[in-house]
Symmetry: C2
Subunit: 418 residues, 2 copies
């Protein structure tokens, strides 16, 4: 390919700067207004096995008591508590073993005075007994048991409904389901769970100079770095495994791709105001370009809007800008549409700057930093293009728009990658 | 089913307490000695798209420079910096626009003095120019550009190898791959990544009283809660999606299942010393029962060992004990075999107890707590069987074996669920 040598003075698409930039707060507020309320999010049914990490769409009320019957909490002997009174290791009492109660079984006979049943943890407490003598407080030859201690009525017995009562709400809508939640759901007989449907995300990679992801660079052509990165970010934030397509830098190709079915469309590249930046104009023509140009660094040439029921995010092609714009804006929308908290999914720590962190009043800065113990060291990087800065960094510090940055020794909050 | 009423005095399997309990530290040390070193873990190749969250098995050294050519960092004009000297908004200099440089293209002509090229972010810097004048510092009618500011040589130019140098190690073995790492790998032409193979885990659910997960309770039979919970925990800790089978409480069934192929076998239930607790004896017969009985609450009837190349964890059937024993022991082994840190994957916070937290010297306690702001409230629960305690809890506090617990007002570390 060679560059065009013609330059038409009548070209209707000219390079220009952004007339006005939105603040990060304005952009964020627009997203929050554009995402449906939790109650309106689409839902789906998944099996219990697939429910981990999903977001519950409804309150779960138990129809059953757990346990549904009084049960032994220990391995030992089901006894009448009063028949153990006075027993000590020095003065053991002898009782007759009538049989064994296993979990899942019931004892159908009637116990005479002085009789006990061997019982296993989880087995239903047999009629006529009211306590469990732990095996550790006994000695037995298989026919008789020597009781070495007292147990009062109810001791080591799990009562009906002690864990969960019928009619009780055990998990509420919006819950991000944990492994143990699946255990609780299983134990009340729930095998299908209503969860928030994962948002369907389409990633559109634009840039005629790009080779498919993972291709060695070739002349002036470079491999797409944003597709694999965005794909992993979307999954992290609760989206369905996204489709990712490379789209030629031609208005008709981009228009068609923008109109394809999706909940969220991420356009990587061509988000700015250059002659080849078609996406903002197309979004404005076909739908609404709500925000274009944001007072932040990197990612200032980011934009967003909607096209009928799709939210569209215009992410700079530059990988660091792309990551930053994703994290500030697109990720927020995907998390919200997944029913998750819009907060960043990064752990936070507080640390002390070892060097000055410079910023400019009027824009938010996303500064990559390294961490050593509680020391925070800003990476000395100029441009937004240094993708390796995000792999060398342990995290980032946000410098708000009203700040000129921080001096050495200042305490800062760090968001930790990975 | 009904309980057996016979009790043979000659039965060779008797109920008995644990003769001696291992400490949590001893059990943990055994796991660490039983898991192969990182360097010996089996590896596999995955595509870049599937590499997020996987653990890198090898160092990655770049074969290429990124960028491989000097490129523009801005939309603007490729210029000779010296031709802009003296330009200000009040004293603009006029230069002639010769054409346009787009990303992926090269300019083949030769620029005369006073000529510039329109250039887009990412485009290679054309021969004969050494700087980029940002569009924001210019005005243009399409033929001429008015230069409103100076740019020195190198300004807004990304230099060869500025992001990544050929020969540089960009990611080291053991790295838990982040979304942006995939971007970096893509940009150096890596499409397949060598990662640690996910451990293959088999879950064996024992307990004749159990119904399949998610089944409503029926008489004295209850649904398996541990299978879905353990399945989700294994995935969380980097294991392959585990198989989960319900095994009859019969020695031959359990023996056969223990001998099936796996890296790790989790046996839920039958881990203690009761007549129906077959797994510990079978493990000792077929392999090594390294630890059986641990000084902790809950989970004291947990055990572990190995059977040729399988690590086997015996987890109490009681769901809270099962969760606790998984988190202390089995999860540690799965994380290590995944190449991950053995640390708990829980966020931590420090808080203040609002009530006494009682423990017993000589055992480690796993106390479920609720969090309100920085207040830590221990859940008032007696038994280990209250699975809902782990869903009502926000996290847990570990009370070490040498502690009697903590008074109200004490500062404690909380591990946060979810």
């Amino acid at each position: 390919m060679s560059a065009s040598e013609s330059a038409s003075p009548n070209s209707d698409v000219r390079m220009r700067g952004f007339a006005q930039r939105a603040t990060v707060e304005e952009a964020t507020a627009w997203i929050d207004s554009a995402v449906p309320a939790f109650e309106s999010l689409p839902t789906t049914q998944v099996s219990l096995q697939d429910a981990a990490g999903r977001v519950l769409a409804v309150d779960i009320v138990s129809r059953v008591n757990v346990p549904a019957f009084a049960r032994s909490m220990m391995d030992g002997f089901a006894v009448r508590g009063e028949e153990t009174y006075g027993a000590t290791p020095y003065n053991p009492l002898s009782l007759r073993i009538r049989g064994t109660c296993l979990p899942g079984t019931s004892f159908s006979g009637e116990l005479a005075a002085g009789e006990v049943l061997r019982i296993m943890t989880g087995a239903p407490l047999p009629t006529g007994t009211d306590a469990v003598l732990p095996v550790e407080q006994s000695e037995s030859d298989g026919l008789q048991v020597l009781v070495m201690g007292e147990v009062s009525a109810g001791k080591h017995v799990g009562q009906v409904g002690e864990d969960i009562r019928a009619g009780e709400c055990i998990l509420t809508a919006g819950r991000h389901l944990r492994p143990q939640d699946l255990g609780v759901l299983s134990s009340i007989g729930v095998s299908q769970v209503s969860v928030i449907r994962r948002p369907r995300v389409r990633i559109l990679i634009t840039g005629n100079e790009l080779l498919p992801a993972g291709t060695p660079p070739e002349g002036y052509r470079i491999a797409d770095a944003n597709g694999p990165m965005l794909g992993a970010l979307v999954l992290r934030d609760g989206g369905e495994a996204p489709t990712c397509d490379m789209i030629p830098d031609a208005p008709e190709s981009i228009r068609e791709a923008l109109l394809s079915p999706a909940d969220i469309i991420l356009v990587s590249g061509g988000s700015s105001v250059g002659v080849e930046d078609h996406a903002p104009r197309l979004l404005a023509e076909e739908g609404e370009l709500a925000v274009h140009g944001i007072a932040m660094r990197p990612s200032s040439p980011a934009g967003m809007g909607r096209l009928s029921n799709r939210l569209v995010f215009l992410l700079p092609g530059n990988p660091v800008s792309c990551l930053c714009a994703y994290d500030f804006f697109a990720g927020r929308a995907i998390r919200a549409l997944s029913g998750r908290s819009t907060d960043w999914p990064y752990r936070q720590m507080r640390g002390v700057l070892v060097r000055k962190l410079v910023s400019t009043v009027g824009r938010v800065d996303y500064a990559r930093v390294q961490i050593r113990g509680s020391e925070v060291d800003p990476l000395a990087i100029s441009g937004a293009s240094i993708l390796s800065s995000t792999t060398r960094a342990d995290g980032f510090v946000i410098v708000p728009a009203d700040s000129e940055g921080y001096p050495p020794g200042a305490e800062v909050d760090v968001y930790l990658y990975g």
